[in-house]
Every structure is written in structure tokens, then in C-alpha cells.
Subunit: 402 residues, 2 copies
């Protein structure tokens, strides 16, 4: 057995075990058996420390449960599907602020009253992902109708008229495009297009548009991925324009790799690996303590985000997916080595062998800064998505090799 | 010379020198000679890294310049007043989002176009402080008229109808009162009442109301100051209800001490020292590394704010003012010792002997985490206000003793 195969086998085993432990944490601690949905504000040992329900995290957990139920045999368990359906029904009943409109709340009380609304599209994106997966897992077309209706609203907000989001257009505000917007829409295009030729055709042009927009974030003659750019592709002034988020660029990277692979576009693939994987990794990896910085400034100035040098769980999860996908697509051993470098750091620093799941927030030196396992922005999503995707990719690599 | 007097003398000298150096930093680097107002996004050496103008910081710097000009002889310099007037005129021309209304922007472009509006009262509070000080420094009644008109609007928003702030009242949102709201209104009442019997009378009831509201933040049978409480004085559920900010409690503490001293209420004074100075200090001081935590949870759980364990400049500035004011009022040597403990840590960890001004953001261990001297939330305010107030209080203590 060669060295590379040994590496792949060892990581598949680690991913599989870790995924089981992580999912056990969420199924044990997060189900709200009274109102449906999920309690995601969980301390180190899984104790609920707040019962607010963040719509991003509700949608993501529904999506994750359905995805695992559909894709990995050992998770094809009725209790996962039941919890996902209870979560989906909670969202259907409560997520929209006004029943007649599509705008969703950002956070709800435990029983579903809206607490806060964000003037962005992300609650609605995760709502849409949840509904489409529920349709795929249950076959119930009410979920799909909901997903498609929300998708129509989302594309309207992004491509035609954002005024329904409620943010006033002030004369001094440049219309900046955050990387997250075309990235999330591309994610939804991929979601709808899975095994559905009709929708793949319907959303093909939108997918191309998203990719065009994401690629516009490569700036400064190809030397930097910037988090926010002008809608015409120019660099924005000030901190906003110089802001970089290496993990986010790598997350966009693997969405782009999926797209390039679907298109069979190897030139695009090479461009993505260079600009969205290697470039942010090399700028973003802390040479002193290891791990990926959260924010950087393209001119090397000090970012203004207090947490810029902290090491967060999700950029590491996304980097693992990106490098393993890059390696799967190219067979380049350098990408496997980078996958191993990130994965070793991540498994060593973020895992909690005592209670399961991962810590989310380490300081620059890699020490746990927040002991929570879930909170307003961390739920059952990045970690299990990473582990499940890595397990699947490693399976495919090992099957291909044998 | 006794030991205590020696301590006071030494600190007065340090405060005076430090204030001169800090003010030299701002006068050298922050004046916008093209548009008026101040550039506050300044790197370690004073270089401008962004030219956005945050209205809080514009108002605060105008206030600070006028205050120093009025109160400390060596700052009675025309260039300070000229810069303050240019800042005030910039605010008059540009701060309001719509000229006919009172709502101010949170951030403007360098030439004054609104970029973002916050749905809170704080831009307007600092605008009001600036205008009242400008009136006091210049005698020009147009500033005072502006200050009084905005004050009327502020009390209307806080005590009668907040709907003009633009935040939708959602059914799941409990009407929480942040400590900052009555604290800032009390600060404005003190501002207007200085040497003005008529306004002191007009705002007496409002001042009493603010104090009543601030005291309601002492919860759990007097064992904790909570950052947010229900309007009826009850504790709120979840993280929001348990949130503590020790430096903020101490800042409220010295506003309350001023009020108690004006009223000659020594019982209230003792209560404030116990609850708003000693309690937050003892819970908030990091026993391992020194310095004040930024956020805490009243149940001792992990806060969800990523920066909770960081050491920020302003809680330390406010604690210094609070302990020295407490000592001035009572003569209790324990309060002088606490002042020295905080001031020693602060001068050792936050000062930048190389370029002047203070770093704003240290990690838990006290290492500089952000090298910026100014940014979206740090300008020419907490540091010089602390140094000037401490210098004045030390002067008074030394004069009293001799």
C-alpha cells in the first residue's frame, strides 16, 4: 500500500468517527421537542444557555439532517428525518416576519416570535436550502414549491431590486458586493440543479452570472481576493475595499470547483485553485502559530475587526473541503499535503474529545477563547458538512484507486 | 510629605504629560483641513488608513477640544477652537440624514455623504454634547439652539416614542433598556446643567429619571450590574439579560457619583461606590493577567462576544475616573489603591511611547491585538477625557491638602 493511499484511508476513518460524534452531540442536545426546530446556543457540554432560534442555523440544521439522511447510509434514520421535518415546519410557520411577504427574521423566540430582522438575504438563503433538501428527503412537493418561490424572491432582490430588504439607499454608500452574495446564490443553483435537468437549465444563466461575479473579487492583477468589490468589479476605497477573509475565499473556491467540474472546464479549474485556494491559504496561514487568520487587510495594515487574528472553526472546515476537492480534481499531491496540514491543525486544536463537537473560537495562539459549542453564528453545519463531504470525497478517491 | 500626597503628585505629573502627548497625536494627524471634521481611522504612527467619518467620533472630538480649551489653561489655544468649530460646522452641514429631520447618520464619507444610519440615539447624543460645548467655548447661540433642539428630540425618542429611530417593533423583541441609554441622557443633563441654573431646573426631573433607570440595572439582590434590563426593571431572559460590561458599569458609576455629589446625597454615594465601582471591578478584573474583561455573563457562563476576554482601553479609562472620583468624594484610601492598580496596568499596557496615544485593543494576556490608534469606535475621547479629568481631580485633591 503506498503512502498516499495510507493517508487517505487514515483520514477517511478519522472523518467518519468524527462525524458520528459530532452528529451525536446535536441529536442529543439540540432538538426542541416542544416547539420543533433546534436549540443551538449550547455550552461546552451541550447545556442550553439561551433559547433564541437563529434562522440561519435552523435552516442549516434542517439541510444538514436531510443531506446526511439522503447521502450517507448510516444516517438514513427516521429520527433525523423527523427532526428535520419538525425544523422545517417551524420555519414554515414562523420564519417569515409578515406572512404575506418573503422577508425572514434573523432570530426568533423559542416559540417563533420574530426578534430581529437582518436587511440581507442570508436567512432566506438557508431557508431555501432547507426547503429544497426537505423536498428531496421526503418527496413532499410543498417544500419544493416553497424553495422555488423563495429562490425567485432572492434573485429579484439580488439582480433587480434590493429595496424589499429594507435597507435605505444612502447617497454616501457605495453599492458594494460582498463575496457572500454571489457565493450563496451559486450554492443554491448547485442545490437546485442536483439530479434535476430542468432546474439546471433554468438556473444555468444565473450560475454563470454568480461565477462571473465571484471571479470579479480577484483583484490587484490577480494577487488578492477581496471580500467586497464594487458592482462593476472595481476596488472599493478604504477598509471595506481592502478586507480579506481567507476562509471565505476558500469556501467560494470549492463552490467554484464544483461548477468548473460540472462544466468540464479545466482552465477555470486551474485558475480557481491558484486564486481561491493557494493565494488565500498562503496569505492567511499564520506562520507563527498555525491556523488561518479570520480577517486580513490587502495592504497588510491592521484590520479593524477585533477578532481578526482569532482562529475560527469554519474557515478551517472550508479549507479542508477546498483542498480535498482540489486534490480529487487534479491528483496534485501538493494539494493533499495542504489538506493534511489544515486538517491536522483543525483536528488538534478545535476538537473537544471530552464532550464532542468542536470549539468555534480560538485565540491567535490556538487556545480556546470561547467554550461554547453553538451560538448565534455556530450551529450544526460547517463541521458536519466538512466531515461528510471529506468522507465522501475520500471514499471516492479510495474507490477510484482500487 | 506623606505617602498619599506623593502618590497624588506623581500621578498628576504623569497625567499631565500623557495628556499633552495624546493631544499632540490628534492635533498632528487627525484634522481634515479640506472638509473640516476629523480623520479618526489612524494607524499606529498616525497614518490615515480610511477616511470615513464616524459621527460619534466627530461629536466627541469637538466636545473634547472645546472642553480642554475651556477648562485647562495650556489648551486655551486658538487652533484647538478653530478645529472644533470646523468639526462642528461639518456636523451641522452633514450629520443629519434628511435636513428636515433630526436623525443623524452613524458614518459619513469624508465630504459628508451619509453611509450608514444606526437605529439608536448615540450619534445624536454626541452631536448634542458637541453643540453644547461649542456654545460654551464660543458663545455663539446657534450651537446652543441646535443642542437644545436635539435634546428635545432625544428625550422624545427615549421617553415617549422611539418609532422615529426606525427600528421595527417586532412581537418577539422584549423592550430591553441598555444601560447606555439612561447613562448618556444623564451625561447630557450634567452637560447642560453646568453653571446654568435655568437648564439645571428644566432637566432636574429627567436627571432623576435617568438615575432611577440606571439604578434598576443593579439586579439579583444587589449582586450584579446587568447591561440590559426590562423597562419595568425585571431581568431579561437569556444572554442579553445576563450580559455584563464591567467598564461600562464603572463609567455609569462616575456619572452617578457626580449626580450624588450635586445632590449632596451621601447614602446614594455609598451605594454607587459599592454597586457600580467595587462590584464590577471585583467581578471584572482578570485575576490571572490583570486588566478588565470586556464582557461577562452574570451566571459565569461563556459570553458569546468573540472579544469578551480582550482588554479594551476605554473600560480602563472609565475605571480610573471612577476610582479617583470615589476617592475624591470619600477619602477612602482603598479607592486610591484601586485607582493606582488600574492606572498602573493601563499606563503599562496601553501607552505607545513610540508614536503617542494608546493602543485600544489588547488580547487577554495584555499583548497588543490591534495596532490602530483610532478606528470606527476609537477616537479622541476616552483617553484625553480620562487624563484631563484625572489631572483636574488630582489638582483639586492636592490643593485641598495643602
Amino acid at each position: 500500500m503506498d503512502k498516499e493511499r495510507e493517508t487517505l484511508l487514515a483520514w477517511r476513518e478519522r472523518m467518519r468517527q468524527e462525524l458520528d460524534q459530532v452528529m451525536a452531540f446535536w441529536t442529543e442536545h439540540s432538538h426542541d421537542r416542544v416547539h420543533g426546530g433546534f436549540l443551538t446556543c449550547l455550552g461546552q457540554d451541550g447545556q442550553v444557555y439561551d433559547d433564541l432560534k437563529y434562522v440561519w442555523l435552523q435552516g442549516r440544521q434542517v439541510w444538514m439532517y436531510c443531506r446526511l439522511y439522503r447521502k450517507i447510509e448510516r444516517f438514513h434514520r427516521p429520527e433525523l428525518l423527523d427532526a428535520a421535518k419538525a425544523g422545517g415546519d417551524f420555519l414554515l410557520r414562523h420564519a417569515r416576519v409578515t406572512p404575506a411577504e418573503k422577508k425572514c427574521a434573523f432570530v426568533l423566540t423559542r416559540d417563533g416570535s420574530p426578534v430581529k430582522v437582518q436587511r440581507t438575504i442570508f436567512s432566506e438563503c438557508f431557508y431555501t436550502m432547507a426547503m429544497d433538501e426537505l423536498w428531496r428527503a421526503t418527496g413532499d412537493t410543498c417544500y419544493r414549491r416553497e424553495a422555488l418561490a423563495m429562490m425567485e424572491q432572492l434573485t429579484h432582490w439580488v439582480r433587480e431590486d434590493p429595496s424589499g430588504l429594507g435597507r435605505p439607499q444612502l447617497p454616501g454608500a457605495t453599492r458594494a458586493e460582498p463575496l457572500a452574495v454571489p457565493m450563496m446564490l451559486l450554492c443554491l443553483v448547485e442545490q437546485f440543479s442536483e439530479a434535476d435537468a430542468e432546474l439546471a437549465t433554468r438556473y444555468a444563466e444565473l450560475g454563470d452570472w454568480c461565477v462571473h461575479r465571484i471571479l470579479q473579487h480577484v483583484q490587484r492583477e490577480g494577487t488578492a481576493v477581496l471580500e467586497n468589490v464594487a458592482e462593476d468589479g472595481g476596488e472599493l476605497a478604504g477598509c471595506l475595499g481592502r478586507q480579506q477573509n481567507p476562509g471565505h475565499a476558500m469556501e467560494a473556491g470549492w463552490f467554484l470547483l464544483s461548477y468548473a467540474s460540472r462544466k468540464g472546464d479545466s482552465k477555470l479549474q486551474a485558475h480557481i485553485i491558484e486564486k481561491f485556494l493557494l493565494l488565500p491559504f498562503h496569505s492567511g496561514w499564520d506562520p507563527e502559530h498555525g491556523g488561518l487568520f479570520y480577517f486580513q487587510d490587502a495592504d497588510g495594515l491592521c484590520p479593524t475587526q477585533l477578532e481578526w487574528a482569532m482562529k475560527l472553526w469554519w474557515p478551517h472546515s472550508e479549507a479542508m473541503i477546498a483542498f480535498l476537492m482540489g486534490y480529487s480534481a487534479t491528483g496534485d499531491p501538493a494539494l493533499l499535503r495542504l489538506f493534511c496540514q489544515v486538517a491536522e491543525y483543525t483536528f488538534r486544536q478545535f476538537r473537544d474529545p471530552k464532550y464532542g463537537e468542536w470549539f468555534g473560537y480560538l485565540n491567535r495562539e490556538g487556545k480556546v477563547a470561547l467554550t461554547i459549542k453553538g451560538g448565534p453564528f455556530k450551529g450544526c453545519f460547517h463541521v458536519p458538512r466538512c466531515l461528510a463531504m471529506c468522507e465522501e470525497m475520500l471514499d471516492a478517491l479510495l474507490n477510484r484507486a482500487s
